[in-house]
């Protein structure tokens, strides 16, 4: 006997309940897909490839919020050439194989015309092959320098690369702060490795030296062994390459360990209110390079802040950057119409003011805005160098 009669009845009841739950979940989907079917020609679907679960889920959610805001704004203004924009979310779990799977699904099954994301480099590197073959624009936020060398006309990067950020921040540290010896601690991912590689390359030209490099794995909670090694080397400053949760923890544990030097990060990956919330006093004076300033008084930024307040969304840096990506994409669709080649050409020639300043791409699909240097002062982010 595999199961008794009562167990069998119970199991049937369970399955019926489960079916009901699933039916409840899918009825929403069903109605929306029916609505889509009726006006399929009147909507342009865009896929978001981002980590919605796992360690990086917060960034995925920020990006989704940004794209949602942009699409709401555009749809309220009448859409793109009369067509509504529609977002399809795909969770890449920050892993390459999932990214390939989910981009495949979005392009081939959900019929999306362009992809926004991913947040991490290696999933995006893997997934861009799929979008390239399907001639779908792929506007991503990866950090790896490898993207520049790829032969993919449909790939655009909405953020600045490490090669722009790193020299800027190192130069600032050397010239303004008189830093000579730097210890670096970076996360053992493609992002951390490429950033610390760029830093080591840029170090010589600005006259600083890396005396120690330590790594940690994303999700680590205890950094005392790395920090005590760094402390022994007596550096002038410590460079942390990581996301806000780890940066906050490292800064706190360094304070406790008595490592009282200047901390900085090469880019704006940790630019989030969460950094101050988690880090408190420990992240005070933290310096980093950023392409975006949430306090900036420009038309685009004011509009974004207003929109996010109306929709009750926390205005994070990544939200604004994703918002920019969505607006740029919408503009490219407006100019390019239905042909993927024309949309791509429109994207290549795009020139518009976004929350991150002037959005425009070079022939490699890279942006070339100059980064700002920012610092945490009195629990606020302020610009210390334009």
């Amino acid at each position: 006997m595999i199961f008794g009669k009562t167990k069998f009845n119970g199991c049937i009841a369970f399955f019926m309940a489960l079916t009901l739950i699933l039916a409840g979940c899918s009825s929403e989907d069903g109605s929306s897909s029916k609505a889509e079917a009726s006006d399929k020609s009147e909507s342009i679907r865009v896929g978001l490839q981002a980590p919605m679960t796992g360690d990086n889920a917060q960034y995925g959610q920020d990006m989704k919020n940004g794209v949602d805001l942009a699409f709401k704004k555009i749809n309220a203004e009448g859409g793109v050439n009369g067509k509504k924009l529609e977002l399809v979310v795909g969770d890449d779990k920050a892993t390459p194989s999932e990214a390939v799977a989910v981009v495949n699904k979005m392009i081939m099954n959900d019929n999306v015309k362009a992809i926004i994301g991913g947040y991490n480099s290696s999933p995006t590197l893997a997934a861009q092959e799929v979008s390239k073959n399907a001639k779908a624009l792929h506007v991503h936020m990866g950090a790896s320098p490898e993207f520049t060398t790829l032969d993919n006309d449909y790939l655009y990067r909405i953020i600045l690369t490490g090669q722009v950020y790193v020299p800027a921040v190192l130069k600032y540290m050397a010239e303004e702060k008189g830093i000579k010896k730097i210890a670096s601690i970076y996360e053992n991912t493609d992002y951390g490795i490429t950033m610390s590689d760029s830093a080591r390359k840029a170090a010589e030209s600005v006259g600083v030296e890396f005396i120690a490099t330590e790594t940690y794995n994303p999700g680590d909670k205890n950094f005392s062994s790395q920090l005590s090694k760094i402390k022994k080397m007596k550096p002038d400053a410590v460079m942390i390459v990581g996301l806000y949760n780890e940066v906050a923890l490292i800064a706190q544990q360094a304070k406790q360990a008595g490592l009282d030097v200047q901390f900085f990060s090469p880019d704006d990956s940790m630019y989030s209110e969460q950094l101050i919330e988690l880090g408190g006093d420990a992240v005070e004076n933290h310096i980093f390079a950023s392409m975006i300033n949430m306090e900036m008084d420009t038309e685009a930024m004011n509009e974004f802040i207003k929109l996010s307040e109306e929709n009750n969304i926390e205005p994070e840096a990544n939200t604004a950057i994703a918002y920019d990506a969505a607006l740029a994409l919408a503009k490219a669709f407006e100019e390019g119409g239905d042909s993927p080649e024309k949309v791509r050409d429109a994207m290549a020639k795009i020139q518009m003011e976004g929350t991150t300043g002037l959005i425009q791409f070079d022939e490699d699909g890279e942006r070339s805005n100059a980064p700002m240097i920012m610092q945490v002062k009195d629990q606020k982010f302020i610009i210390i160098q334009e």
Binding site: C25, P96, V100, N109, L125, E129, N188, T189, I193
Partner: protein
């Protein structure tokens, strides 16, 4: 018609089945569905491999994701760094995973039951950490991208250029059919019988003169080689390998497929791999709930149908047979249930 009758209906059914399977790419125009079907075929290979050791020999391993990974990484490294084609990386990967499987089996199979589970778990984790931290060779967390497709094949009437997912289907199907035939032959051989004897009662098997340890190690080696082959196919199919794919979750996923399909059954392996892959793809629509629902389904499956789908099917088949038998022997009282050892549906 005479020909068909001679061939026998069973064989005719098989023939029609194979032709129908080959026709699938013509019927499905959505490349995403083709992608999922190909993924299922790779998982079937993995499940068949793990089933050899779990279902037929009764030794539980939760480290087979590592063999899958080793196969994939070997294919990736040899094809990107040395420029070897798929037809060279495949035998290399199979051989290498078999050797590593032999070593691990030789050490690990001295342990029994939960200790073996712990040992294979440790092995899986170690291999995953190697993938993650041996950056010079494995690319570390970035993995290895741009793995070439298998070389184009020309069969006269149709060509496989491996530029679209449908092209991979015949190749993968070929390997799955070969694996199924090989598994069938292996299980029905004296060696396979020895394995099932070990599963049912190790002590009895030993007293019958079966070299228990040696048999287990050989089966573990073959099982690892299956996963190596699947890994190679995966690497050349997805074009990118990275460590997270081959972590503990992958090992558990394969084991769950074996359990849900039904241990010790080829049809069960096919069903388990297909159902779980389809479930996990279908739940992509709700990324936040995906793993939750997936986990719930598995818990329900394991609570109510611990023998898997093939277990249920077999249970009802036996009931029907018993009823038919009772009807034949009118007046006779219900016969005593003869308890048979083993899974009873091979």
């Amino acid at each position: 018609m005479e020909h068909i009758r001679k061939l026998g209906y069973r064989r005719l059914g098989l023939l029609i089945g194979v032709i129908a399977l080959l026709m699938i790419p013509l019927g499905i125009t959505n490349p995403y569905f083709m992608y999922v079907i190909n993924l299922i075929l790779i998982y079937i290979l993995l499940v068949l491999g793990l089933d050899l050791i779990v279902g037929y020999t009764g030794q539980v391993s939760i480290g087979h994701g590592a063999f899958f990974g080793i196969g994939a990484y070997i294919a990736a490294i040899f094809s990107t760094k040395l420029g070897l084609s798929f037809w060279f990386t495949l035998p290399i990967a199979i051989l290498a995973t078999a050797i590593i499987g032999f070593i691990i089996g030789f050490i690990g199979l001295k342990l029994i039951e939960e200790y073996l589970v712990m040992a294979t778990l440790a092995f899986g984790t170690i291999i995953w950490l190697v993938f993650l931290n041996w950056t010079d060779v494995t690319g570390g967390p970035m993995g290895i991208a741009l793995i070439p497709s298998p070389p184009a094949m020309n069969f006269g009437i149709f060509q496989l250029s491996f530029t679209q997912y449908a092209d991979y289907y015949p190749l993968l199907l070929f390997f799955v059919i070969v694996a199924i035939i090989f598994t069938k032959l292996l299980i029905n051989s004296g060696f396979g019988r020895a394995c099932t004897a070990i599963r049912d009662d190790e002590l009895a098997a030993q007293s019958m003169g079966i070299p228990v340890f040696r048999t287990k190690v050989v089966m573990f080696t073959i099982s690892a080689a299956y996963c190596g082959a699947a890994g190679t196919l995966y690497a050349h199919f997805i074009h990118v390998v990275s460590p997270e794919t081959f972590n503990f979750t992958m090992s558990v996923t394969i084991l769950t497929m074996v359990m849900i399909g039904g241990q010790g059954s080829i049809i069960g392996a096919v069903l388990g791999a297909s159902l779980l892959t389809i479930f996990s793809e279908a739940l992509r629509a709700t990324p936040e709930l995906r793993m939750l629902i997936y986990g719930l389904l598995i818990v329900i499956m394991m609570m109510f149908f611990p023998r898997g789908i093939m277990g249920i099917i077999n249970y009802y088949r036996k009931q029907i047979e018993k009823r038919a038998l009772l009807k034949k022997m009118k007046g006779a009282k219900a016969t005593v249930d003869v308890k048979k050892e083993g899974l009873g549906y091979e």
